[in-house]
């Protein structure tokens, strides 16, 4: 067991202030808990993680729910989660079908999240406190893609902000790996994200371009 402390940053620009006011409804709490892998994992969301205080956006569970809200409702026609629609629509479905267990841990400061065997995804402090709300949805999609059978298969290119030559990149856009899924989700969020602001959409664009520029061994040749 690890014990950790965290000083909660400002909740304004991240989106947590406003998303937090929305998710505080039992219908959402029940839906997110039962749909995105929280169910059966109460112990991992207790003891300071927010299980008994799930509307408090200073705590991890509410911040995870905020990400789940963005994941679920950012397409204007959110009820259409067909795989023939944009990933903005079916991202939630992909997460639902690939993450069985979503558990929170302090982490050792070297990762936002990790995908383990058997549908288990671990999320660490950075997921809650360094990612903005749409960025948390991006992370869930990224990890779901690992669960879907796509590990990273290349080293980061020269000059990458993620570390030149380190493992953890995807070989190309066409590999259809976790970085591609995350970047494409952010791209659609920028282009057509609903119930959000142009500022958060711009943030998604900047993050999406950063991934496109730095997380593929071969640059895709386009940008957002």
């Amino acid at each position: 067991m690890a014990s950790c402390t965290y000083t909660v940053p400002d909740k304004a620009a991240s989106g947590d202030n406003f998303y937090g006011a929305v998710i505080c409804n039992q219908a959402y709490v029940d839906y997110f808990w039962n749909t995105y892998g929280f169910s059966g994992n109460k112990a991992y969301w207790d003891d300071g993680w927010g299980w008994d205080d799930c509307c408090n956006t200073s705590k991890p569970l509410a911040r995870a729910f905020n990400g789940c809200y963005a994941l679920t409702y950012s397409a204007s026609d959110y009820l259409n989660d067909s795989y023939s629609a944009p990933i903005l629509n079916w991202g939630r479905r992909y997460v639902r079908e690939n993450i069985d267990d979503l558990r929170s841990f302090c982490g050792d400061g070297t990762a936002i999240a990790r995908s383990k065997s058997g549908g288990l995804v671990e999320v660490y402090l950075g997921f809650f406190y360094s990612k903005d709300v749409p960025g948390r949805a991006e992370t869930l999609i990224h990890e779901s893609r690992h669960q879907g059978g796509k590990p990273h298969d290349a080293n980061f290119p020269s000059g990458s902000v993620f570390g030149s030559g380190k493992s953890g990149a995807d070989s190309s856009w066409d590999y259809e790996g976790a970085w591609m899924y995350g970047a494409l989700y952010l791209w659609w969020y920028f282009a057509e994200g609903a119930r959000t602001t142009s500022a958060l959409r711009q943030r998604a664009r900047q993050r999406g371009n950063l991934v496109i520029d730095n997380a593929f061994a071969t640059h895709p040749g386009f940008s957002i």
């Binding site: 406003f18 059966g40 929170s104 360094s130 940008s223």
Partner: protein, 243 residues
Amino acid sequence: MPSKSFDTPFLATPDTLEIRQAEHPFSFLNSKDEKLNALIVEAVNRMGGVGDDAEENYRRALNSLTKRGPSVLDVILAEYENLPEDSYLDRWSLVQLIVELRYPEAVKSLNRIIAARIPAEKFRKSHDMSTVAEEVMIRTTAVEGLVRLSADGVVEARDVLLKYAAHRTFSIRRACVQGLMQTGTDDDKRKLRRLLKERKEEALLKIKQVDVRSAPQPIGGRFVVPAQVKREAPPPDLRATKE
């Protein structure tokens, strides 16, 4: 369907977390104008809005701030520089605010933000956490501000874009090149091409901004759950209820 029983009793001991609530992130040490300070806080706050009226509320907050004129830039930049280095999202929000206000006088501030040295990576062992990435996103957002000003005809913005087309960080170079090619004059583009040829970086010109609909999309549907198992999400605009 979940492959386990709900909330199975736990045998091991999980991690525990204690949170501390921070004070307001902004200090406004350089501004005693409380109304102006409140307008800045409100605009940043509305950036993170959600709901059908989120953009309208954000625009309203920006309009109130715009009425105060370009003198607000000094307050915002001072606030940006007073924030702790690791307050990446708060720092980014202030840069985004400068971008949105679209004052020609912002060129100097945006130049200063991009020019600042990027501190060394603090998460060297990570493949998904990167402090350099956060710093780069702050600077590419500042580049976006220059691109908008260049589109408005601000010559100084184009000069700065040309300068940072030779930045050491790839994403900043790429953003400057694309921005200048889209908004610069023929003379700007000529200078840019000459610079890229000298640096043997003409490949940057081949990276095109495209619409998401024309990007290759993944093939989904490989792990389809039977329709009878699917549970529909509740509507997105239920009123919040206090637990």
